[in-house]
Amino acid sequence: MDAIERSLLEQVAELHEVPEGAYNIRANGKAAARNTTASIDIVSKTDKDGIDIIIRPGTKNQSVHIPVVLSQSGLQETVYNDFFIGDDCDITIVAGCGIHNCGVQNSEHSGIHSFFVGKNAKVRYVERHYGEGDGLGENIMNPTTVVEMGEGSYMEMETTQIKGVDSTVRTTRAKLGPNSTLIIKEKVMTHGKQLAKSDFTVDLDGEGCHTNVISRSVARDDSKQIFLARINGNAKCHGHSECDAIIMDRGVVVAIPEVTANCVDVELIHEAAIGKIAGEQLTKLMTLGLTEKEAEEQIVNGFLK
């Protein structure tokens, strides 16, 4: 692995060296390294690109890292990763994609991640997206996440895209079983002419299930973001979505809620707040000796932290 790939890895997986536990590192379309453990197996798919990650029931306090890095300009790939998480597991999964594109062709990674979460399992899923490179080619990522949650399970999904991704359409579809909980926290910052679209569909199918979809985003320059939260309440359940965005320069943010109650016991809430940085926040930090630019930076960093 070369210096560029290593630095991408650091960005997306906060990995400085080979991680502990199970991992699968994919670099430029090929498996670069893999490790399995007694309770976590990773198997390459035979019919298409991708892997199956099989986590034995009852596996606790373990982690799986599956970073992807692309440093060859013009590489375009679609990868299928399926996670089979056994009952009663308690695990952390870190995925991420880093693209370094110095060429003129577009680099594109589309990851389709499916999670089958067993009964009473607890999953923390962290996904980071990062792009760099000063070529004319665009960095494109279109992640799809499919989640099926068993009875009493809990999943927290944290996605972050802070820099350098020119175009992204993130699609998330989830089906929640009885008493399960899905928390989604998305953080996005776009610059230049970037476009980021997030499309969430959560089906609250099981009695007593609950979801909270939270997006915090900053759109700078001429970038555009679209946040679409579709929550369908099909049983006695509770759903909440919230979009909180700062717009700067000529940035555009669109928040589209679509909440459907198919049952009288459904409780659904959508909140959206979009606006520029409050003048008094800038003033306050300036009275502490920060310049306007520094104040802006602090406010944005804090907001996305």
């Binding site: 915090r216 909180d244 409050a278 008094e280 926040q281 003033t283 306050k284 930090l285 300036m286 009275t287 502490l288 000796g289 920060l290 310049t291 306007e292 602090q298 406010i299 960093n301 804090g302 907001f303 996305l304 932290k305």
Partner: protein, 242 residues
């Protein structure tokens, strides 16, 4: 030493000029100076003019003899002016520690940040990592605002009604806080207040009413007049009507 020379501030309202500050002349170099006066008298406006948030329509401001009239908020802060707002600002995402660190202007450790919080009567470990957002109570926010000024420790600190919303139990501590601050900065503390207990620690009291300095002098001289002679405050209004 802060000097305000012929400071006036006006705004246009419904096509008419409205004078909020009228020809204010003050030289402030004492330890504790209190500014009091009726609601709407122009106290907060004056504080904002000092901090550089509002630009006076007329007049000059000098700090230690240097003309700072043309300086912006950041530059004045760097020259040594601190300002605790009457209504503190909330931030989504920034924590108490973040703000205190920014205020101190250097990277400080958790223990040091905690010291400032303890000083304003907040149990540091409960607050240090909290976001300064809508979840904090009004009184908590006011105390954090004061802690930030402590962390800055500049030669001139302006507090706009610091006691508002602070419970009686903590009130005497607040007075100690100002005394500590003075020991530390060895400069001037300017406190806008309606509270007799605060006026009681002032070396000098300035009464601002209807945008004018209506009374100004040593505490021993001004306070009895304020307490015994309420109509004097209102005379500014009657003068205006006349």
């Amino acid at each position: 030493m802060l000097e305000l020379q012929n400071i006036s501030y006006g705004v246009e309202q419904d096509g008419e000029d409205k004078n909020i500050l009228r020809n204010i002349n003050l030289t402030i170099g004492e330890r504790f100076v209190a500014i009091t006066g009726p609601n709407g008298g122009g106290k907060s406006t004056l504080a904002k003019v000092i901090a550089g948030i509002l630009v006076p329509t007329e007049g000059k401001i000098l700090l230690d003899g240097e003309d700072i009239t043309g300086l912006g908020v950041t530059e004045r802060a760097k020259k040594g002016i601190s300002f605790a707002f009457q209504q503190p600002v909330r931030f989504k995402g920034l924590t108490v520690k973040d703000l205190i660190t920014l205020a101190s202007g250097k990277s400080i450790g958790v223990p040091e940040a905690c010291d400032y919080l303890s000083e304003v009567g907040l149990c540091a470990k409960d607050y240090i990592d909290r976001e300064v957002d809508a979840s904090l109570s009004g009184g908590e926010l006011k105390r954090i605002e004061i802690a930030m000024i402590m962390a800055r420790g500049t030669k001139l600190s302006v507090f706009d009604e610091p006691e508002a919303g602070i419970d009686l139990w903590s009130f005497s501590n607040l007075i100690q806080v100002f005394e500590h601050l003075h020991e530390k900065i060895n400069g001037s503390i300017l406190i806008i207040s309606h509270q007799e207990r605060i006026l009681n620690i002032a070396d000098r009291i300035i009464v601002l009413a209807d945008g004018r300095v209506q009374n100004d002098g040593a505490r021993a001289q001004v306070l009895p007049q304020l307490l015994g002679n309420v109509p004097s405050v209102c005379s500014a209004l009657t003068d205006k009507v006349r």
